[in-house]
Symmetry: C2
Subunit: 408 residues, 2 copies
């Protein structure tokens, strides 16, 4: 029997999905599971977006242009204009989800053995795409005390090697919810210019910012040839299953290279390009409502988390994720225990252990990621479950502030 | 400015699409261009397949399971049963087009520097996926005189090195239309068992066989752990834009590895999975009509080609492609000249130079690939154009049989 590749062995399994069998078992026992573990929004896909597909009247489901339908790319030009990003449609390559934009950027810009620097914790699938491209993700640790702000410039400088070809951020961030400021982006700009690096900017959650305005890497003046934007309609319009994203850059050499990768796989999906095109025509106040909804969920979640003894959760500035520090011995064990051994009024909660978002061993062992993709009532119930769970979890530890309280 | 990767440089541009600007220029001059250059069928996508999407009534366009919707995979089990291929739904991973199935197989089974053996001429995008995976396509030449039958076992034996990990075929073949026999597959089985190789079988055109029954590599007894099937709904149901394919194998280790690649990119497109599921429910005589249509087109095309002095076209057994040898100096020059400098009654024809389907330099220089994806009337007109073109093409050469005729 032939063996699989080393790459196939090294490919990391999804850290988020490994708890799925325990959740399924809990449901079989009749336990209601609140899913705060994955970034699948519960918000309805806007009706005009789905209707555009349902009312389409073509007779042959043809390949589109490898870069995506020109009509859609021209529409995206007007979308980006709203953020002061001036493009022509040939600077946009429509991809199969944001995932493919990431893979194309890795493939077109880095060779096997090259390195991309990413602040950790980070979106775990970057690891998978790195293995596929044969490159290395090197991390600079951000920490929960600062709310996961950008690490200091010196930390990046120390991590840069002759193989470093790019810095990558997700802004606002998955998994931390941190919203990078214009000043932080300027630090990255200085680093990229000094060391001749690409800046990969994953801006999937651009519209969901609560503590300030989003500043896109595409608007960094003088860095036009360095910046590659990875984008997607997945979270923006609750259209994850469409698998439509985009790679955007002003660097013509990169565009030419990426087009060859795009041609090899022929075209991005046709149905969801129709959906994506209709989405750009949604009334501009569409995001006001969605953003207000996410923001009020965040407020409930973060307050209830911080009200639980021993729990600390910084207030995330964007996206729909938060990372909380819990008074526990081991996040993987705790999250499994929640599904396997705990229930409160026949309910429990599914969380993502933060260990899966760190590359540095040992980090994230007392942290979990929570995606606030449930309505507020469910979030409240889920937080009550979590609170009750922490009262009885056998691996509960006593944290410093509690010791201090007891000392007084 | 940072440089792109060597991989980005090495990535081959699409050999089929490089003539597109010349076609566009011809059309601007008012010339009608008959497109025989690409495998985009003109046949309508079956209405029930499109209607399944158009009548869908979900409210959130969610991620599907990374392996594809379970309901679709279970439906595919019944589809494969029709060909005597017995599977369970967990042996099927739904992919984003057949393209992704190929890339996943390359990534999961081969490491950088490993080799896959492919009879040439072959589907050019295998090259692109090979560059992405860092592997090498090594070719064994098949020839037009034998109708592109499988090269002799000895030719494979000679080409196998310690780095060879797989043999890959497309059956029936793109670009040659050749339908491999059960006996030829048995030769490949013997080779794979002897040298412990995977057999990658791209069966995108399974239903379109005219000279015999299709024999799937999945039905090679005793080779279950070696065979990986790459499949797609694109050509079968004229659904190229759906981007739905499948990787199918009974090798559990490969399935486990491929699942990790599938999880990294989250899920295949949701809309077209609905289309694919509906397609399995089409009446079984659907293919009778489509097959009869393609077969009658093939008959017109091949006869008219062989009636042109100096042209030779073997009768393809399947798919909707034929390769013809033309009395020309250089296929790339000729195909460009057809668009740039020729027209007959304000019409011309666009062909794919066969050079793009060979890895061995110099081969295919007097061959073109023709995709019979136009109706018979258009094929007739296109063949008249081609005939007229060959009368006046400045690079026309005199071939042996013509010399013989003149000698008599």
């Amino acid at each position: 029997m032939p063996t699989i590749s080393k790459r196939g062995e090294q490919m990391p399994p999804s850290p988020i999905r490994k708890l799925v069998p325990y959740a399924e078992a809990a449901k079989k026992k009749g336990t209601k599971v609140y899913h705060l573990n994955i970034g699948q929004p519960d918000i309805e896909t806007p009706k005009p977006v789905l209707d555009a597909v349902r009312h389409s009247d073509f007779t042959v489901l043809e390949y589109s242009h490898s870069a995506g339908n020109e009509s859609y790319r021209r529409k995206l030009v007007t979308y980006y204009e709203r953020f002061g990003i001036k493009l022509n449609h040939q600077q946009i390559i429509v991809t199969t989800g944001g995932s493919e934009a990431i893979l194309f950027a890795f493939m077109a810009c880095l060779d096997a053995g090259d390195e991309v620097l990413v602040p950790e914790p980070f979106y775990a699938n970057y690891n998978g795409f790195a293995v596929e491209a044969g490159i290395h993700v090197r991390t600079i640790t951000s920490n929960i005390e600062s709310g996961f702000a950008l690490p200091a410039m010196e930390a990046f400088e120390k991590a840069i090697t002759p193989r470093t070809k790019a810095i990558m951020i997700c802004n606002p961030n998955n998994p931390t919810g941190y919203l990078y400021s214009k000043e932080e982006l300027s630090v990255l700009k200085a680093l990229c210019l000094k060391h001749n690096l690409y800046l990969f900017s994953d801006e999937a959650y651009r519209e969901f910012c609560y503590t300030g305005e989003h500043f896109s890497a595409m608007n960094l003046e003088g860095l036009e040839e360095h910046v590659i934007l990875m984008d997607t309609i997945s979270k923006r319009y609750s259209a994850c299953g469409g698998r439509i994203g985009a790679l955007v850059t002003k660097n013509q050499t990169v565009l030419d290279a990426v087009m060859k990768f795009a041609q090899a796989r022929l075209s991005p999906p046709s149905f969801a390009q129709i959906a994506g095109e209709a989405a750009v025509d949604l009334p501009l106040d569409y995001f006001d409502k969605i953003k207000a909804e996410y923001q009020s969920r965040r407020d409930v979640l973060v307050k209830m988390l911080n009200d639980i003894p021993g729990v600390f959760c910084p207030n995330p500035g964007g996206a729909f994720y938060a990372i909380a520090r819990l008074p526990i011995d081991n996040a993987d064990r705790f999250c499994q225990w929640l599904l396997e051994s705990f229930s409160y009024e026949q309910q429990t909660v599914m969380l993502a252990p933060a260990t899966g978002f760190y590359a540095t061993k040992g980090l994230g062992a007392d942290e979990v990621r929570l995606a606030y993709v449930l309505n507020k009532e469910d979030i409240r119930k889920a937080m009550i479950c979590l609170s009750k769970a922490l009262e009885v979890y056998p691996g509960r530890i006593v944290v410093k502030e509690e010791v201090l309280e007891k000392g007084h």
